[in-house]
């Protein structure tokens, strides 16, 4: 089998489709591309593909990663062009690399894509609803606390999560036109993470960040492992 890693986008057009739907869309795109895709064995064969960290509904991304396998080695430009042409609006293929598996004697195989993810970089654009000074103050206070809990309520359970363990760098604030731009570097670990929207919510509720949360647009700009974009790990 010949494995490839793709860096894809999730654009504004499809920001409201779920991670599972995104995977289904990519599966059909690979089929439309007429690539010699590898399938799992069994009664219900599936394309051999895997994704990095799932994105929340409503979040766009410049850095979605997908590994997939072909049964024949095709050159990178051919795979790139065929797959690009088959993508629906809202998904662009940014980069593509063959995954070089080390020989058996050279040690371990690549980790699963999901397990390689360590951090995500996000930007939030949100309308200001007050003073810029209040923004600076709220961000500063949030950055200054050493720990703070977020109360996460899901249909299944409710729990408190310590947020700061996942915030790798101080949250940055700036203005982008009439919008406040918040930049976040968030740790994604096997045991959990925090969502950028949850950090913003905490900043609004606990630190008085004066923004209109309902109109926030969130984008994931990078997904890193060992400090490097995942595409550079192969």
């Amino acid at each position: 089998m010949y494995k490839y890693r793709a860096q894809l986008t999730k654009g504004d057009e499809i920001r409201y489709i779920s991670h599972l739907d995104y995977a289904g869309v990519m599966e059909r795109a690979i089929r439309r591309a007429k690539l010699p895709a590898a399938y799992s064995e069994g009664f219900n064969p599936h394309l051999k593909m895997s994704f990095a960290s799932p994105l929340s509904l409503g979040v766009t991304s410049d850095a979605e990663y997908m590994d997939f396998e072909l049964t024949r080695p095709l050159c990178q430009p051919e795979v790139f062009d065929k797959l690009s042409k088959a993508l629906p609006p809202g998904i662009k293929l940014m980069k593509l690399k063959p995954v070089k598996e080390p020989k058996a004697c050279q040690g371990k195989k690549h980790k699963a894509l999901m397990a390689e993810v360590e951090q995500g970089i996000y930007e939030i654009l949100v309308p200001l609803m007050g003073d810029w000074d209040a923004v600076v103050k709220a961000v500063k206070s949030f950055n200054a606390v050493s720990e703070i809990n977020y109360h996460r309520v899901t249909p299944k359970k409710t729990r408190d999560i310590e947020v700061k363990q996942y915030v790798l760098e101080p949250v940055q604030a700036g203005m982008a036109g009439a919008l406040v731009k918040l930049s976040m570097n968030i740790a994604i670990t096997q045991s959990g993470s925090i969502k950028p929207v949850e950090i913003m919510e905490l900043m609004v509720k606990e630190f008085g960040l004066p923004v209109d949360m309902g109109k926030a647009m969130i984008n994931r700009s990078q997904l890193l492992g060992q400090g490097k974009p995942l595409i550079d790990l192969v």
Partner: protein
């Protein structure tokens, strides 16, 4: 153009229902075209997107350079609440244009219980509900689809209806519109309706006057405009290889109800089951050729990327070249991991062998429709299936490894007695015991799904009174108590819904008032069990002073004028009467597809003929 804020989309279930941009969706410059057509099915996105007819018409319309066709479906209740709170009008999924800016709003009418949603969508779009209240700037509201063979209950809400197959007729409608518009919209709204009424298969309800007798019953309907024909026949496509079929369906980002390729093998079914409205509505049988289907299959796999294809038709196993065609498909898609399915199986071993071949390893479950529990009643409905047929079929299925069988039945068929009801349980139990006999062990599941019979217009049973709700429920209990085997699982339909469907499907124009009242009082999504409001509907009948039972329970006189006879699929009243008489005598009628012509009247009245590659002696 409507732009939904993130806070709205974040607050609703499945926001991708409202955000568009799907692959193969068509976007055109609004001002660059003459005709703007919105196509709709008044249900949620996942249901609407699954409709084959709309997929075809979407392409047919968008293939015209002077026309743009866009989609719109019913917003789910969560979205509706937000739209009403914030005064957001209904919008299309391509250009997000307000629906009331379109020239046409077309609804595919799949079943009667969708009508409340049609009204709700008109209201959300800001289009007056009643045709008489519409202004020059409002879209023409058009209806088409299976329920058009009695449009009377909704005829005051629609400007016109398209009867029968729409591929050719919708193009003629747009031609007429473009011409009328270019000529300066002569005569205004009514002027266009007069022009369109001249087309074969178009019914403009406002051009007719209905007369009632002194008991208040329907007496006659007569044209009041010169362009209105006394009787309107449906349209049929004569050559299924020459008409456009979907090649690039819009690909949803989210899962929909039928999330697979639908390859339509043929139209029509002339098995002649006497309860079946589809059986009379879609006559005659017209097949696509094997060669054309093969081409279509290739195009569809390439344009969609789906790995599942359903070979659809009213009775797919009747396709004359099915065996050969399945071989073609297997050869063409070898290595592409495409799986094929037949949605409807005939009760015979040919079907089992074919199903076995198509499913290869996965044995998901087989579905058969004996429809009635005893031979006597199966003969009454002209089902043409014996107990022996069923036993042979399930035996073959069990030998091939199937362990789940689903059997469809109907309850409340004409002449039905308790013996027929108990017969359903006995038949199901025989099937379960057959499994033991074949495999030597238990472990089969036989699911019986029993619906409540609704007599439908233009069928031989159109005169029969429907059972009252309590009687349906008594028979459901009787059946439940008659099932002794644990292997038999029993599902039944909500009789309350069927009773309303019974009243609306054979209703006349006065039912419009009831539908309007029910909608005003909150009826919508009536086809969704948890949203169906039975009391609202009954209250609406009471408020309008209309006795529901007059419409559903009353047996009509055989020579009584019926309010739906002027909009016809072409089957004659004489044929329906003959079939009625034969039903009462338990006599069978042959399938004219390969057997004797039953003189139903369709071919001569529509100028069409049966296309069946086996009967015609040729190869597809």
């Amino acid at each position: 153009m409507i732009k939904l804020e993130p806070e709205i989309l974040q607050a609703v279930e499945k926001p991708a229902r409202y955000t568009g941009y799907e692959l193969n969706a068509v976007h055109k410059d609004w001002d660059g075209v003459e005709c703007h057509f919105a196509l709709s099915l008044a249900d949620v996105y996942e249901v609407g997107m699954s409709n084959l007819g709309l997929k075809i018409l979407y392409e047919v319309l968008n293939n015209r350079e002077d026309t743009v066709c866009e989609r719109v479906y019913a917003p789910w209740t969560d979205m509706e609440t937000i739209m009403r709170d914030r005064n957001i009008p209904l919008f299309s999924l391509e250009s997000f244009t307000e629906i009331n800016k379109f020239d046409f709003l077309g609804f595919s009418l799949q079943y009667e219980m969708i009508y409340s949603n049609v009204l709700n969508m008109l209201d959300l779009a800001g289009i007056p509900i009643w045709t008489r209240d519409r202004q020059e700037s409002d879209p023409f509201v058009v209806g088409g689809g299976p329920t058009v063979f009695n449009t009377e209950p909704i005829s005051d809400f629609f400007d016109f209806f398209i009867l029968g197959e729409g591929e050719e007729l919708i193009v003629e409608v747009v031609d007429t519109f473009v011409k009328w518009k270019a000529n300066g919209r002569i005569g205004g709204r009514k002027g266009f309706l007069k022009e369109v009424a001249k087309l074969e298969g178009i019914y403009v309800p406002s051009f007719y006057k209905v007369n009632y007798n002194d008991q208040g019953r329907f007496l006659s309907i007569e044209p009041v405009e010169a362009e209105a024909k006394p009787k309107i026949f449906k349209r049929v496509i004569k050559d299924m290889d020459k008409v456009h079929f979907v090649e690039k369906p819009v690909m949803p980002y989210i899962g929909i109800v039928h999330d697979r390729i639908m390859l339509e093998l043929f139209r029509g079914c002339t098995r002649g089951c006497r309860f079946c409205q589809a059986g009379t509505s879609y006559r005659p049988v017209r097949e696509r050729s094997r060669a054309y289907l093969r081409q279509l299959a290739r195009k569809l796999v390439d344009s969609t990327g789906y790995n599942e294809m359903s070979l659809t038709s009213l009775s797919s196993a009747d396709y004359s070249c099915l065996g050969e065609m399945v071989d073609d498909l297997f050869a063409d898609f070898e290595g592409e991991k495409v799986s094929f399915s037949l949605p409807s199986l005939r009760i015979d071993s040919f079907s089992i062998d074919l199903a076995h071949k198509m499913q290869q390893v996965r044995k998901s479950g087989l579905t058969f429709a004996p429809e009635a529990g005893t031979q006597r009643l199966r003969d009454v409905i002209n089902k043409g299936v014996t107990e022996e047929n069923l036993m042979t079929a399930v035996e073959a299925a069990f030998r091939q490894g199937w362990k789940q069988v689903k059997l469809y039945f109907m309850m409340g068929l004409p002449t039905e007695t308790d013996e027929d009801i108990v017969g359903i349980a006995q038949l199901a139990e025989k099937v379960a015991r057959k499994y033991k006999e074949v495999t030597g062990k238990w472990g089969v599941t036989v699911t019986i799904s029993v619906s409540c019979f609704v007599p439908k217009p233009h069928t031989p049973f159109q005169w029969f009174g429907q059972l009252p709700k309590d009687e349906f429920e008594r028979r459901q209990r009787l059946l439940k108590d008659s099932i002794k085997e644990k292997a038999v699982k029993f599902h039944y339909h909500d009789a309350r819904v069927s009773v309303l469907e019974g009243a609306i499907s054979r209703g006349d124009r006065r039912i419009s008032q009831v539908i309007y009242q029910a909608w005003q009082d909150g009826a919508k999504f009536d086809g969704w069990t948890d949203l169906f409001k039975n009391e609202v509907w009954h209250e609406a009948f009471r408020k309008c002073g209309i006795d529901l039972r007059e419409y559903n329970e009353r047996t009509r006189d055989l020579d009584e004028p019926l309010p739906w006879e002027h909009t016809t699929p072409g089957v004659s009243r004489e044929f329906l009467r003959r079939e009625y008489d034969k039903a009462m005598r338990g006599e069978l009628t042959e399938d004219c597809r390969r057997g004797k012509c039953s003189a139903c009247g369709v071919c001569p009245s529509l100028g069409a003929k049966v296309v069946d590659y086996k009967r015609n002696g040729g190869e597809g």
